[in-house]
Amino acid sequence: MLTIQTDKLRKEFGTLVAVNDISLTVNAGEIVGLIGPNGAGKTTLLRMLATLTSPTDGTAKVLGLDLRNDYLSIRSHVGYLPDFFNLYLDLTLRECLAFFAKAYHVPEIEIPARIREALAFVDMAERSDMMVSHLSRGMVQRFGLATLLVRKPDILLLDEPASGLDPLARTQLRNVLKKLGSDGCTVIVSSHILPELADFCTHIVLMNHGRMAVQGEINAVRRAAPLRRRLEIDVLDNPAHAVALIAKQPGFQVVNVLERTLQLETDVTPEALAALNAILVNRGIRVVRFVEQASSIEDVFLHMTVAAQPAKEPIHVD
C-alpha cells in the first residue's frame, strides 16, 4: 500500500532550489534511509512531508491526503522528529508523554500503558518522574522518539536522529529503529552516518543538489551501483614488489597501500583474480589475505555525490 507518493515535489527559497522535482514512492512498512551530503535537501524534503514547509510546486499525497490542502489532517498521522529539538522542560517525562498522548487523542484508558510501553521502548522506564530539563542530549533524542511512539503514528519522519549522540546512545537508537521497522511502521530517516542506515533500512533514497539520484531497495542499489570491485591483499613482506607486479597486470589498479595492505580496484573476471593470486605467489610474494570487498552504501553514496554530477533523471532500482 502506498503511504507516501510525491510527484515532482519542489521547494524554492528565492533563487535557491532546495528540493528539485522529487518523485518518490514509499510503501507501508518500509524503512527508507534518506542519504545525501549537507545541503542536499533532505531536511527540506522531510519538513515538506511533515507539512511544516509548503512546497513551491508539485504534488504529494501522504496516506492518500493531499499535502497542500489536507495538511492539518496529515499531521495527526505523521510523527516528525527534527534534527535539533527539545521538549517541555517544565514537565516530567510521564507528564510530557501524557500530554502528547492526549493531544493525539489516545483513549484515556490506554494512556498509562502506552506511556510505560514507550518509556520501556527507549529504555527510560526508571526515569518516568524525572524532569525533561534534567535529561542529557542523547536522552532527549531517545525521549523524543518516545513522544512519537506513545501515539503510534502511521509514519515516522526522523531527521538525523543520531546526530549529537555518543556511540552507546547511537546503538540504542539503532535498536529502537530496528524494532520499529519490525513492528511494521513506515519510517523515513535521514542520516549522514551511512553504515547505521545500511543496518536497518529496507530502502534508500540518495539525494544530491536537491535532486533524487537513486531510489530503491537497499541491496538492489548496492548491486546495481556502477562501481569497480575492490580487492584487499595483505602481504607478509615486500609490498613494493607486489605493487610493481600488480601494475603489470591489465585491469588492476592499486589505489592505496597501507603498510602491508594493498587496496585495488578492478573490473576483471573471477578467473583473472585467481590468476593474479597465482602470479603473486609464484613470484615469491607471501600472500596472507586476498579478499574481494562488497560495495557498501557508503561507496554508492561517494560515487553518486563526489564522483558523479547531479543526476538529471533518478535511477529507480527494483
Binding site: 519542489r10 524554492e12 528565492g14 511533515a50 507539512t51 511544516l52 509548503s54 513551491t56 510546486d57 492539518l72 489532517s73 499531521r75 495527526s76 505523521v78 516528525y80 527534527p82 535539533f84 529539538f85 527539545n86 521538549l87 517541555y88 522542560l89 517544565d90 514537565l91 507528564e95 500530554f99 502528547f100 492526549k102 493531544a103 493525539y104 487523542h105 513522544t147
Partner: protein
C-alpha cells in the same frame, strides 16, 4: 470541555509546580502587604471618615493591581507562550499537534494565565470588600471591571496573534503584526478607551477615578464611557481572537481574508459613525472633516495584514496557468482595494448631510486615495523585493515611506507664512489631515499640486512592481514549469 484541553493542562501543571508557584505567590503577597500598609496605617483609622478614605484608597490600589495583573501580566504570558516554544525548540511539535485552533488558542490563553486569573479573582474579592467600606456604587465598579476584563481579553488574544505572526515568514519581517496591532490599539484609545485610561487612571486618578460618571455620545445614546470602552474592547477582542484562530488554521495565508478586511473596515466605520453621529446630525463641518480623517486610519494599517507574500505569488504561477493580467487581478494591489472603496462610499454617504462640502470632498477623496495607493505600492515593493535576505531593500522602502510622511512636515517648519507652510505640509498625508480642520488649506493655492505629486510617486513605485510581476512569470517559464 476546555478543562480537558491538553495544552491547558500542560501549562497548568507547569505553573502550579511548587518551586515555581512560591515565587509568584511571594510577589503577590508582598504587593498585598504594601497595599495593607499604605491603607491601614493605624494613624489613618481614627474615625468613620478616615476608614472610608482608607477604603477608597484601597479600592484604587486594588484596581491598579487588578489592571497590572490583567492588562500587563496576562497579555505578556499569552504573548510569550510560543516564543518559549521556539526558544525551547519544541515549536515544530506544537505546530503538528492535531488540536483545533480554538483548543490551541484557549489552551494557551486560559492555561498559561490560570494563576494570574485566580489572583485577579482574589483581588476582585478584596476590591469588593473595600468598595463596601468605601460606599461605592457596585454598578460603577462593575463597569470598571468589565472594561479591564474586555481589554485584558483583547490584549491577550492580540499578543498571541502577534506572537504567532512572528513565527511565520509573513512579509519577511517578524514584527509586522506589531505594526498591525499597535495602530489598532491606538485607534481604540482614540475612540474612548483613551479617556478611560488617560483621564481617569493616570491624570485624575487620586480624586475622581471612583467618583466620576462620564457619558459619551454613541449614535443617539449617551453611554457611560467605561461601558462603551468595554464594548469596543470586546468587539476588538473578538477580532483578535479570530485572528489568532486563523493563524493556527490557515498558517500559510495572510492574517485577514478579503472578507475579514471588509468586515474590519465596516466595524471601524460603524464605530466612527456612532461617535460622530451628533456632529453629523448637527452638520458640524469641522467635526465631519475630522470624522473622515479618523475613518481613513485603518486604510493605512489594515492592508498589512491582508497582503500575500512573494512565495505565494510564485506558488500561484506554478500551480495555475497564470497570465500577466491574472497575476495583477490576484495581486495585493487589487485585493486591498476593498477598504478604500468602503471609505470612499462612507465619505460620500456621510457628505449627504453636508452638501456644501462636496467640492472639497472630491479633492479629499482623490488626494487620500493617491497617498493610499503610494503607501500600498511601497508595501508591495517590500513584498516583492524586500524581506528575508533583502532586509536592506526593506529598510530603504521604510525610509522612503518615512520621508513621504515626515519630510513635507519638516520642510513646512521653515517658511514663516502660515498658509504656505500648511500647503507644503499637505504634501504629506499626515500634514494634509493635520490641516484639514483649519482654513489654511482652502485659501488661494492650487491644492491639486499635492494630488499630482502623489500620483507621480505612484507611477514611480508602480513601474518596478509591474517589472517584478513580469519577472515572476518569466522565472516560471525559465524553469519550464508552465
Amino acid at each position: 470541555m476546555w478543562i480537558d484541553n491538553p495544552i491547558f493542562q500542560r501549562h497548568v501543571r507547569a505553573q502550579f509546580r511548587a518551586h515555581q508557584l512560591w515565587i509568584t505567590m511571594a510577589i503577590y503577597g508582598a504587593a498585598l502587604l504594601v497595599i495593607a500598609l499604605v491603607c491601614l496605617a493605624p494613624s489613618e483609622l481614627t474615625n468613620a471618615a478616615s476608614i472610608r478614605s482608607a477604603a477608597r484608597r484601597a479600592c484604587r490600589l486594588f484596581l491598579t493591581l487588578e489592571s497590572f495583573v490583567l492588562l500587563l501580566w496576562a497579555p505578556y504570558r499569552s504573548g510569550t507562550a510560543l516564543r518559549h516554544e521556539i526558544a525551547a525548540r519544541s515549536y515544530d511539535f506544537f505546530r503538528m499537534l492535531p488540536l483545533s485552533a480554538r483548543e490551541k488558542t484557549l489552551g494557551i490563553v486560559l492555561g498559561r494565565n490560570l494563576l494570574p486569573f485566580l489572583l485577579a479573582l482574589f483581588t476582585l474579592l478584596l476590591l469588593a470588600i473595600a468598595a463596601r467600606f468605601a460606599g461605592l456604587s457596585l454598578f460603577f465598579l462593575a463597569q470598571w471591571l468589565a472594561a479591564i476584563a474586555a481589554l485584558s481579553a483583547l490584549f491577550c488574544f492580540a499578543m498571541l496573534m502577534v506572537s504567532t505572526g512572528q513565527m511565520e515568514r509573513r512579509l519577511g519581517i517578524g514584527s509586522i503584526d506589531v505594526l498591525l496591532v499597535a495602530p489598532l490599539l491606538a485607534m481604540l484609545w482614540l475612540l474612548g478607551i483613551g479617556s478611560l485610561a488617560v483621564n481617569q487612571t493616570a491624570m485624575r486618578l487620586p480624586e475622581t477615578m471612583l467618583q466620576t460618571h462620564h457619558r459619551v455620545p454613541f449614535f443617539t445614546l449617551q453611554v457611560p464611557d467605561l461601558l462603551l470602552s468595554a464594548l469596543l474592547a470586546g468587539v476588538a477582542a473578538v477580532w483578535a481572537y479570530h485572528g489568532a484562530l486563523r493563524r493556527f488554521t490557515k498558517e500559510r495565508e495572510p492574517l485577514y481574508s478579503g472578507w475579514a478586511l471588509v468586515g474590519l473596515m465596516l466595524t471601524w466605520l460603524l464605530c466612527v459613525l456612532g461617535f460622530y453621529w451628533p456632529s453629523l446630525v448637527q452638520r458640524d463641518l469641522h467635526q465631519l472633516g475630522i470624522m473622515w480623517c479618523v475613518a481613513s486610519l485603518p486604510l493605512f494599517m489594515l492592508p498589512i495584514g491582508a497582503m500575500r507574500d512573494r512565495d505565494e505569488y510564485i506558488e500561484e504561477t506554478r500551480l495555475t496557468k497564470t497570465s500577466f493580467a491574472r497575476l495583477i487581478a490576484h495581486s495585493n494591489l487589487v485585493v486591498l482595494l476593498s477598504p478604500l472603496v468602503l471609505w470612499l462610499a462612507y465619505i460620500f454617504f456621510t457628505s449627504i448631510a453636508a452638501p456644501e462640502l462636496r467640492a472639497v470632498l472630491f479633492y479629499t477623496a482623490v488626494n487620500a486615495a493617491a497617498a493610499w495607493f503610494f503607501l500600498v505600492f511601497l508595501l508591495e515593493l517590500h513584498v516583492l523585493y524586500g524581506g528575508g535576505d533583502n532586509e536592506r531593500i526593506s529598510m530603504l522602502i521604510a525610509a522612503v515611506a518615512l520621508l513621504f510622511l515626515v519630510l513635507p512636515l519638516a520642510i513646512a517648519m521653515t517658511p514663516k507664512d502660515v498658509v504656505l507652510a500648511a500647503h507644503i505640509s499637505a504634501f504629506s498625508i499626515l500634514g494634509f489631515w493635520i490641516h484639514y480642520g483649519d482654513n489654511t488649506l482652502s485659501t488661494g493655492v492650487n491644492l491639486w499640486h499635492t494630488v499630482y505629486y502623489n500620483l507621480l510617486l505612484c507611477v514611480l513605485a508602480l513601474l518596478p512592481i509591474l517589472r517584478r510581476y513580469r519577472q515572476i512569470l518569466s522565472w516560471r517559464d525559465e524553469m519550464g514549469r508552465a
